[in-house]
Amino acid sequence: MPRYSLVVNATPRLVDASPDMPLLWVLRDLLGLTGAKYGCGIGVCGACTVREGATTLRSCQLTIGEAAGRSFVTIEGLESAGGSAIQRAWLDADVAHCGYCQPGMLLEASALLESRTPPDDAAIEQALDAHLCRCGSYPRIRLALKRAIELRRAGKP
């Protein structure tokens, strides 16, 4: 079985896996990082979202063969990767209900916050619209993101 190297949450990792194994299962079952969630396996729900730099991707849609040599941030590493402001905003707005979809939401939101121009309502909707939440945390996601954007504009971390 081929061996691949990748960086997850700033830590180099080596895994032995079939080339077509999605990153989601590499994270969850081989590396013990269960923060990325399985929700649909076809890239529709967004629960498995991880970050690569300032962009996000669906870890269920990226094979380990494609992911090799690259560097990712999962929910477990979000705080160390500069995500504490969005996490704070999430807690202040009490966004989560059951919480299962929230890792994907948070990684998407954190990437949005890092975009060069502060996102407006339309940009928020566009980015988060491809993330599903069955509990209905959407109104609070809007609140939390707006608050985080305001804080950032005001120069607070």
Binding site: M1, A17, S18, M21, P22, W25, R28, D29, L30, G32, L33, T34, G35, K37, Y38, G39, C40, G41, I42, V44, C45, A47, T74, I75, E76, L78, E79, Q87, W90, L91, D92, D94, A96, H97, C98, G99, Y100, C101, Q102, P103, L106, E125, Q126, L128, D129, H131, L132, C133, R134, C135, G136, S137, Y138, P139, R140, I141, R142
Partner: protein, 719 residues
């Protein structure tokens, strides 16, 4: 947990852990040490619901006998105890119990958690506080009445001395448990009524929260199961050569419901499953077809059924009415589709079984697994991680039993994970229904007759209901039988038309279907008689008929209708193409709620812009939590109104994932406002309730915006 182990832990907590109190479902409170003695002596009928443990180091742990699925019980229930305990909330830790003799009734459904336990939990906190005060007073040699408490400390005001609860825990454990202790007045509350964020918030935003899917135990395997595709079919042949060659696959086992591929990790299990070559034969005939079934429901709604409510003579009243209105409303099949698909880790070994299951019914899982394995429930240990959504689906025990079977076959701990497709196709579907509505009006436009006949099927998670059950209508026609409006003649009737697929209640149980038909039909009467829908509802609630309880219920319903109307600007101007719709409901005779939707329709596309909810569920423990469940219920109801439905063809569900069974998205979510009245004396449920009026509020708003009456959900292209 085995009796021995449980007794050991109990002995440990009784001797070492300080003040440990167990609260019974009946309100009895006792020390863990007494519990241990009682258990050794044999059962004394004590049925715990919650445990409070204050350790000498100050750690205060509250164990709740309800499961957390996003509705907030791991926050709201401990808050109630902490309030009367006068605890420091930041020091509180929360555990979820495991079922068994310790926790005999953990089933979490029906929105009963807060309402059913408010008083006992308060009294638990108050009595523990009294024991801490007594311990401090004894140490100081002062009267207990000269001591007070604040944020986890007992303070002797005259001498300005104080002890932290942790420092008193061992002494307090030796104090007698008082029969009662004074409760705070509402004005003295520091936690109840305050906006407290979710207890698990930090764990969720850091990825530390563990759901059933995230359970990992040493040596565990991962399994995917190819299930029988249609009811009654049998496996004719199995070729697993290719599946066994998939790297990481450790075995292929036949189980009662299909074929499981067991592997070192999930991906190998899924790949192995894909490589199976299976042939099925037989299957129940005729194969279920939902289009045909729904036509049958409409037809059946003409026939006689089980009468759940009969006032006056509805037939005579209709026959003599000046004018008659008739409508049929249609409700489809839905599937719960929680984000976390069904899954369980099971480990059968040495004539015992350990399970980790995201379940709403831990005791049912325990009982069913014990029965399946021929073991005593005592040796079936069920751990309940967080649930990635429940909504009723996790009252089923099917997915736990599968995991047990696979674990037994391979003699290892195994996680059976359902894919999204499995979850969508093998649900316990919300039953489809047809509602035949008839109203008689007199010359003055007064409603003289109301006849609501629902045709649907009747089953829940524990099986089909007896068609001869005289209470069939009462059990099934939530929102029809308990119609809050007063009519001189009315009938609510349920016609049973069985469907050969697994069915079960979902959020708001069976109310959404009936309330949609009822609240839309009230709107139709308003339109036909040129009355304002709010005023008509208030007039129908103003009747002096009914006993005191009915009158009180109607008053509480009228109050939330007025509040929702006021806050939504009911009657005020709107931009062209927009309309407002109202719907209201008394849920299960308790919580009252009214909702106003503001909707626009452009080129057939319905958009909900604003949603105003007024609710009376009594004293609110946590307003932030209440707003969350109201928003959640509205989003659920909007998914049901604007999203997908499940259809069956040739015995199978035609949909398979969120791609063809859409649920509401952020861009479709309106601004949602929650307003509450604390009219009821005791806290009542709020987790499911907000779902029931949503569809009708939207459909009524569509009518207000367009003049077009839509009589089904989801509306699809019907607007």
């Amino acid at each position: 947990m085995t009796t021995t182990r449980r007794a050991f832990l109990r002995a440990g907590s009784a001797l070492v852990a300080g003040l440990v109190l167990e609260l019974g479902l009946d309100g009895r409170l006792r020390r863990a040490s007494e519990a241990l003695a009682a258990e050794t002596a044999g059962s004394d009928g004590f049925r715990p619901f919650a445990v409070l443990a204050i350790e000498p180091g100050g750690r205060t742990r509250i164990t709740v006998g309800r499961v957390e699925m996003g509705q907030g019980v791991r926050t709201s229930l401990p808050l109630i105890v902490a309030e009367e305990l006068d605890a420091d909330w930041s020091q509180i830790e929360v555990d979820t119990a495991s079922p068994g003799p310790d926790f005999p009734r953990m089933t979490t459904s029906g929105s009963w958690s807060v309402g059913g336990s408010f008083e006992p939990l308060r009294r638990m906190g108050a009595r523990a506080r009294a024991m801490l005060i007594a311990a401090a007073a004894a140490r100081w040699g002062v009267e207990a009445s000269t001591c007070r408490t604040e944020s986890g400390r007992v303070i002797h005001s005259p001498s300005k001395r104080e002890w932290k609860y942790g420092d008193l825990a061992l002494d307090a454990a030796r104090q007698p448990v008082p029969a009662d202790a004074p409760l705070k007045s509402a004005a003295e509350h520091r936690l109840i009524g305050r906006r407290t964020p979710r207890f698990d918030g930090r764990a969720i935003v850091t990825g530390a929260a563990r759901y059933g899917m995230d359970v990992r135990v040493p040596g565990m395997k991962f399994a995917a199961l190819e299930r029988c595709p249609v009811a009654g079919a049998r496996l004719k042949s199995l070729d697993d050569q290719a599946a066994r060659r998939v790297p990481g696959v450790r075995g292929v086992v036949r189980v009662s419901n299909g074929v499981a591929v067991v592997a070192d990790h999930t991906w190998a299990a899924l790949e192995g499953r894909r490589a199976l070559v299976l042939k099925w034969e037989g299957g129940d005939e005729p194969r279920f077809d939902s289009a045909e079934y729904q036509a049958r429901l409409i037809e059946a709604s003409n026939g006689r059924g089980s009468v759940g409510r009969d006032v006056g003579n509805v037939e005579t009243a209709l026959a003599s009415a000046t004018r008659r209105l008739d409508s049929v409303y249609e409700y489809p099949f839905f599937v719960h589709a929680p984000l976390e698909p069904m899954n369980t880790v099971a480990h059968v070994h040495d004539r015992r079984c350990e399970l980790w299951a995201s379940t709403q019914a831990p005791n049912w899982v325990q009982e069913a697994v014990a029965k399946q394995l021929g073991l005593s429930p005592q040796v079936v240990e069920v751990h309940v991680p967080l649930l990635g959504g429940g909504f009723g689906r996790r009252l089923g025990v099917d997915y736990a039993l599968e995991a047990v079977e696979v674990s037994k076959a391979v003699a290892a701990p195994v996680q059976v994970m359902w894919t999204r497709e499995d979850d969508t196709r093998h649900g316990f579907f919300q039953p489809a229904a047809a509602h035949r509505m008839a109203a008689g009006l007199d010359a003055g436009g007064q409603v003289v007759a109301w006849w609501h006949r629902e045709a649907s099927s009747a089953q829940n998670y524990r099986g089909k209901m007896d068609p001869a059950n005289p209470d069939l209508a009462a059990i099934h026609m939530w929102g029809g039988v308990d119609n809050p409006y007063a009519f001189a003649a009315m009938r609510a009737e349920f016609v049973l038309v069985e469907a050969p697929i697994p069915l079960g209640p979902w959020r708001s149980v069976f109310a959404p279907s009936n309330v949609m038909a009822r609240e839309c039909f009230v709107d139709e009467i308003a339109a036909a008689t040129k009355q304002d829908p709010v005023k008509l509802r208030l007039a129908l609630l103003a009747s002096p008929s009914g006993d005191e309880a009915v009158q009180a219920e109607r008053k509480r319903l009228a109050a939330v209708i007025q509040l929702a109307a006021e806050k939504s600007g009911w009657g005020g101007a709107l931009p062209p193409g927009r309309g407002r719709g109202i719907a209201a409901h008394v849920y299960d005779g308790e919580t009252t709620l009214a909702q106003v939707a503001e909707v626009s329709v452009e080129s057939g596309a319905v958009r909900v812009h604003r949603f105003v909810c007024a609710i009376d569920c009594g004293p609110v423990v946590n307003p932030l939590g209440l707003e969350a469940v109201v928003e959640s219920g509205v989003v659920w109801g909007l998914s049901q109104t604007l999203g997908g439905r499940i259809t069956f063809k040739d015995g199978r569900a035609e949909q398979s994932s969120y791609a063809d069974y859409p649920i509401l998205r952020l861009s479709e979510t309106p601004a949602i406002e929650t307003w509450f009245i604390e009219g009821a004396k005791q806290p009542l449920g709020a987790g499911e309730q907000p779902v029931s009026p949503v569809a009708a509020a939207v459909l009524n708003a569509i009518f207000a915006a367009t003049g077009k009456r839509v009589r089904r959900v989801p509306i699809g292209d019907g607007a």
